[in-house]
């Protein structure tokens, strides 16, 4: 492992793992406690439309993904809030349309699109320095927003009706949360690919939920777990020559199952 660190790509990959773990740890906690995994999946897949658009316009596809995922977040938030029924159907539709738009844009793009698969399955080993900068900026934005709206985010997550009675602008706060999910999804896409984004978003938070009783501590533990999972997964994929994104997910999944087992055993003795 040590000798691997002499490579730029390995150092970049480790840095990317740390940077996404920060966003993932914080936002994953909100996804888990609010039970909005499905919406987050919708946002992730709709972002693919932006990747296609990015290729078509010959700009960094990350920018396209940011625009599309933010638009999807806004759209899904409005749909969830304003239509009283079948929100999940509409989210499912937007999920599929986003992907379809991406594929069609790629079809329309001249020439062979080399690393399209990397957005589906992730390619942490090819993260360029410029993407690391984007990730760091997104981390800062997410930390700042969560710090500023912490009490409102806690309130709408715990008891939205009470928050409304206390005149918290619940719809606005919810849309801000979905927007932050969109940004996190874009970062994660680079590391594990958009198909597996949801796993990395939810597993560290779901594990920490079992061992903490406070949102802040849950975020801290999730961030640490995220860093451990990405680093371990990266090392395993390097040592065994496996796809890094999938290896990271399997490491996280293994830890998640172990935590469930541990919980089941200790509960029986309690």
């Amino acid at each position: 492992m040590i000798e691997a660190l002499q490579f730029d790509f390995m150092r970049h990959a480790l840095a990317a793992g740390v940077l996404v773990s920060v966003a993932c740890g914080i936002i994953g906690v909100y996804i888990v406690v609010n039970r909005i995994v499905f919406v987050s999946g919708g946002i992730a897949h709709a972002a693919y439309g932006g990747i296609g658009l990015g290729y078509f316009l010959r700009i960094n596809p990350v920018w396209g993904a940011i625009v599309f995922s933010l638009a999807a977040a806004l759209g899904m938030g409005v749909v969830q809030r304003k239509t009283r029924q079948r929100a999940d159907t509409i989210i499912g539709v937007m999920w599929a349309i986003g992907m379809a738009v991406g594929i069609v844009f790629v079809d329309l793009t001249r020439g062979y699109v080399v690393d399209l698969m990397s957005y589906l399955f992730g390619s942490i080993l090819t993260v360029p320095r410029s993407d690391l900068v984007i990730m760091a900026v997104l981390d800062v934005v997410i930390i700042a927003l969560v710090a500023v709206f912490y009490k409102e985010l806690l309130a709408i997550s715990f008891d939205e009706t009470f928050a409304t009675v206390e005149n918290v602008p619940v719809d606005t706060i919810y849309i801000i949360l979905l927007g932050m999910i969109a940004l996190t999804v874009v970062m994660l896409m680079r590391v594990v690919g958009l198909i597996m984004v949801i796993a990395l978003l939810t597993m560290p938070a779901a594990i920490s939920e079992q061992f903490t009783s406070n949102l802040r501590k849950m975020m801290m533990l999730s961030i640490v777990l995220g860093i451990v999972f990405t680093t371990t997964g990266l090392w395993l994929s390097y040592a065994l020559n496996l796809t890094s994104g999938a290896t990271i997910i399997l490491v996280s999944g293994g830890a998640f199952l172990l935590s469930l087992l541990y919980k089941a055993l200790t509960r029986r003795h309690a």
Partner: protein, 259 residues
């Protein structure tokens, strides 16, 4: 007897969903330090009534005034204790932080909680005798203890009026008595309106009772008359009867009537 100020007024208020009326022509006047219990069958519009008064739902017709203001304006004077439904035991939050949510209305966006907020929360937790448990995760509490925390959260808003939705649902009769005991103490300073389908508990603890089933039958008296029940529950009085009117007139403590 001094003249008490009117704090809630509903005039010919109609409300419903998709044009289907759930509440018809509700008239209600509640004065300072009243302790009103409203009973009625499930689906009779009890929760809708609270929603309209909290500005969570617009009435189709009529007027709602909370301390002379619209519901959305007046709700900052109301401490709301919602019904405990689909509670997430794993939610990572402790008692103190839940009670602190009662200060959200005082501290708007972009403002941090102050020492004044912390004092109000400590006082509220003291009032419900839950200060010793302030660091406990909310999921570890019993239903009755959790209800006290929600009452503390409502008290932390420093309300003039308390609204409680089914405060004693799914707690045993011993806990029910202690919660009503607490409410009786709080009633020395705040007006209380609570809704429940638990007739025996309500009638033995509140000052005045109303019956709600689409229409409200409220005569500012403590007694539930067979006529009120008959009007409120329409014909199916037999279904709930089985000696219920008897218990309403002479409640036995410790008994639980569940329809």
């Amino acid at each position: 007897m001094s003249i008490r100020r009117e704090v809630i007024r509903l005039e010919d208020m109609w409300a419903g969903y998709d044009g289907e009326p759930v509440l018809e022509s509700i008239n209600l006047s509640i004065k300072e330090r009243d302790f009103v219990g409203i009973i009625g069958p499930n689906g009779g519009g009890k929760t809708t009534l609270l929603k309209v008064m909290l500005g969570l739902m617009q009435p189709n017709r009529g007027r709602v005034r909370i301390l002379g203001r619209s519901a959305a304006q007046g709700r900052r004077f109301i401490g709301y204790v919602p019904q405990q439904v689909d509670f997430d035991r794993n939610f990572p939050v402790n008692v103190y932080d839940v009670a602190m949510m009662g200060r959200l209305g005082r501290r708007g966006l972009l403002r941090r909680y102050t020492s004044e907020d912390r004092r109000a929360v400590t006082r509220a937790l003291q009032q419900v005798e839950m200060l010793d448990m302030k660091d406990r995760p909310i999921g570890e509490l019993s239903t009755g203890q959790r209800q006290r925390v929600y009452i503390a959260r409502a008290l932390a808003t420093e309300p003039k009026i308390l609204f409680l939705d089914e405060p004693t649902a799914s707690v045993d009769s011993h806990v029910t008595t202690s919660i009503y005991e607490l409410l009786r103490k709080l009633n020395e300073h705040v007006t209380i309106l609570l809704i429940s389908h638990d007739m025996s508990a309500i009638s033995s603890h509140v000052k005045t009772v109303g019956c709600l089933n689409r229409r409200l039958f409220y005569h500012e008296s403590r007694e539930i008359t067979p006529e009120m029940l008959e009007e409120a529950y329409h014909c199916p009085i037999d279904l709930i009867a089985h000696g219920v009117p008897h218990r309403v007139f002479a409640p036995h403590s410790g008994e639980n009537v569940k329809a």
